[in-house]
Symmetry: C2
Subunit: 431 residues, 2 copies
């Protein structure tokens, strides 16, 4: 489960300083101090109005494989001393983790994940925790905006080729969590059970002596319930050929270039005139949330999205940090004029109007919750207890449902694509 | 070598449509047509003046594991027919690959990689090839600008937490290729032999009852040849404490917040006044190539770079495409008004002045090279022959040297950080 070449361990997906800190803390006796680390984002990406938590499921899987075996310890012989190597050889996380479940919205300062344990137990997880959450949440946050922009029209994630080959699998998962319908990525299909989609590229048409040959071959192999790519040569001719070959029962055509709005209109008219009134139009090619929104009035039935979703549409990382907030019950914080660092373990709830519209995110000291009203919702759930994942953790499908419901609760302004403030304010009680 | 949870194969890191195309081509007899696919970038990221090829070494490793075993074939049972499953079960790439070696510069239209083989053999590699090259080249291209901006001052890559946990390993490799000195990522140290660096975070200081305790502990564990992080509370006091604890032989201090230029100046004065004249200053915190350049006049000795390098500093993907350019000796190309698609297999050379300064990138039809002058350099090298990597492929260190030499050849305007045109024009001969 590691995703590491030649290794079943995730333990070296870690910054060197986590381990040198453990070495020094083991030597001076502070390694066993009870600590609380908190993951939060100081701000949302420029102009974004909400973030979407994603990656928790992947994180818990990676945590199970966070073990220092012989291969890892060999590598660390020059990094830390023998005592530390011995400690690492017996390492397994023994603490607790609480956090916002996948698909939950977050805002600046939301305590997205809380890791409780000894200093040494908890500090070594910093890099892995942040890598997973920062990546997956960045993708899901961008993808959710695309899903909103698309209204009821389905989105297919097809960006594997635009990102690292393994990130691509996680990106497909995050996009699916956010409401995409399918992915082009076969490994995401295998590993996460996400529906996969895809039929043919321009290369397939170019391979053949003419476009009709290619279409005939594709229909013979995949049936008329396929998607024919019609823009290799001339789109008008391509649609003519597609319907001639596949008949009016052709499932869809795909247009991957040109002015997609104009092309979709012309294609719809032509398809209808040819009697292919149920043949759908898939558009792809440099789509982002803004381009998707601009196509809402056009007869595009499906969107294929690549680069923009897997790169977070301008915000490729969520900017979450993992901060020590409590040592042996004492709140701690780096002194900082510009950055808001609030010591002490926190929890959060979200207040809503009776109509269900969210009003504010309330972050409060863990031990002293504010009065909870009938329309308030506590946001953290237990994820790990004594090092073991709790039973009945939310599934990917449940995360998808959670986000769908959460987006309905966002004040309408918060769903706008334009740059703005966070959809709801974060209020720090007792701060 | 796959990097896939629970799998030794890279074969499902693939878009579904590659396999449905294979299925149709096997059925219609075109699967064995001799094809040439070419990887190139239509343009550089907005305003960039050059790109850096990276990932080839990783790609060849992943290619060796591109096999469809029982687990992969199980997953594909609903995707393609029995004939195709059988073909996939015997798949290994049998063709040839040529390309720009790692560390080479590229420009719009440069034929970065050329894959020659049967259609079926070559088309299934599209997703993997692009994922690896687009990711790694994006990072290396951004990192090279940072190296240039830093002059002779060393850079440490510390961005693992800002990107997917496995991409982080590849990002460290690409940054090292581009001239970074070290990485925080331990897996990159293990897998690629890249020097690793890192000592302590703010959490380590906060863990202790006071800053001096933390510094004493660190020096006891790591020696005075360490880097003490001095900005947890008050920087001036932190530096005082650091020198008091470690002595004037302290290797370095690190400043991770505030106005780094001002802080570096003040720190230098203070260190010198304390007699720590050889203690170096490491600065980190939201550095990108522009911030690095702006610190050139300041007494910062080392730069730690995170988010901006692992996310490609605004260009997280290189935008390379994998296009079918030749079928059975016949040039092919998608018809396109806006995109430059040139059919036919190509090669390239770079022309230089006698002084060594590059003049232009010449892309020519494979079989008809233009006259090659004494200052011209052919850019592609054989990478794979008959499915096997050729002997003596360049190492990562050689790629690093290659880039260093290539950057010296760039006209001085091409090294400017400001937005501009590609450093040299690409000339298409016989196009």
């Amino acid at each position: 489960m590691s995703g590491i070449p030649g290794s079943a361990s995730t333990a070296l997906l870690t910054d060197r300083y986590e381990l040198t800190m453990v070495a020094a803390a083991l030597a001076d006796g502070t390694a066993e101090r009870r600590c609380v680390f908190e993951v939060f984002a100081r701000r949302l990406p420029e102009g974004r109005r909400y973030g979407v938590v994603a990656g928790t499921g992947r994180l818990l899987a990676a945590l199970a494989d966070f073990r220092f075996g012989a291969a890892e310890l060999d590598q660390l012989a020059g990094v830390v001393d023998a005592t530390t190597l011995d400690w690492l050889s017996r390492y397994r996380f023994r603490g607790d983790i609480d956090g916002y479940p996948e698909g939950e919205l977050y805002f600046p300062g939301s305590p997205i994940l809380t890791v409780t344990g000894t200093f040494a137990d908890a500090v070594v997880l910093e890099t892995l925790v942040l890598s997973v959450l920062n990546h997956d949440s960045a993708i899901a946050s961008a993808a959710a905006r695309m899903v909103t922009a698309a209204g009821n029209r389905p989105l297919i994630e097809m960006g594997s080729r635009r990102t690292h080959e393994i990130s691509a699998v996680a990106a497909a998962r995050a996009a699916y969590l956010a409401g995409f319908e399918a992915t082009s990525n076969l490994e995401a299909g295998r590993h996460y059970g996400i529906p996969t989609a895809g039929t043919a590229a321009h290369a397939f048409v170019l391979l053949h002596d003419d476009e009709c040959d290619a279409f005939r071959s594709q229909v013979a192999a995949l049936g008329s319930k396929t998607t024919l790519l019609v823009d290799t040569y001339d789109i008008r001719r391509g649609i003519e050929n597609a319907v001639a070959v596949a008949g009016t029962e052709l499932d869809s055509i795909r247009i991957d270039s040109g002015d997609l709005g104009v092309m979709a209109q012309q294609a719809r008219e032509q398809l209808d005139a040819l009697g292919a009134i149920n043949t759908r139009i898939v558009v792809s090619g440099d789509l982002d949330e803004y381009a998707i929104a601009s196509l809402r009035a056009e007869p595009a039935d499906h969107y294929g999205v690549g680069t923009s979703v897997v790169t977070g549409s301008g915000a490729p990382t969520a900017g979450m940090v993992y901060k020590l907030v409590e040592v042996d019950g004492r709140p701690v914080a780096k002194r900082s004029a510009a950055k808001r660092s609030r010591g002490g373990r926190k929890s959060a709830l979200r207040r809503h109007k009776p109509t269900g519209t969210a009003i504010e995110e309330v972050v409060y000291p863990h031990a002293t919750p504010p009065p909870i009203g009938p329309n308030d919702r506590v946001l953290s759930v237990p994820l790990v207890r004594g090092g073991e994942p709790v039973a009945g953790l939310p599934t990917l499908e449940q995360g998808r449902d959670r986000l769908r419901a959460a987006l309905v609760s966002v004040p309408w302004e918060g769903l706008k694509l334009s740059q703005g403030e966070p959809a709801i304010p974060t209020v720090f009680e007792g701060a």
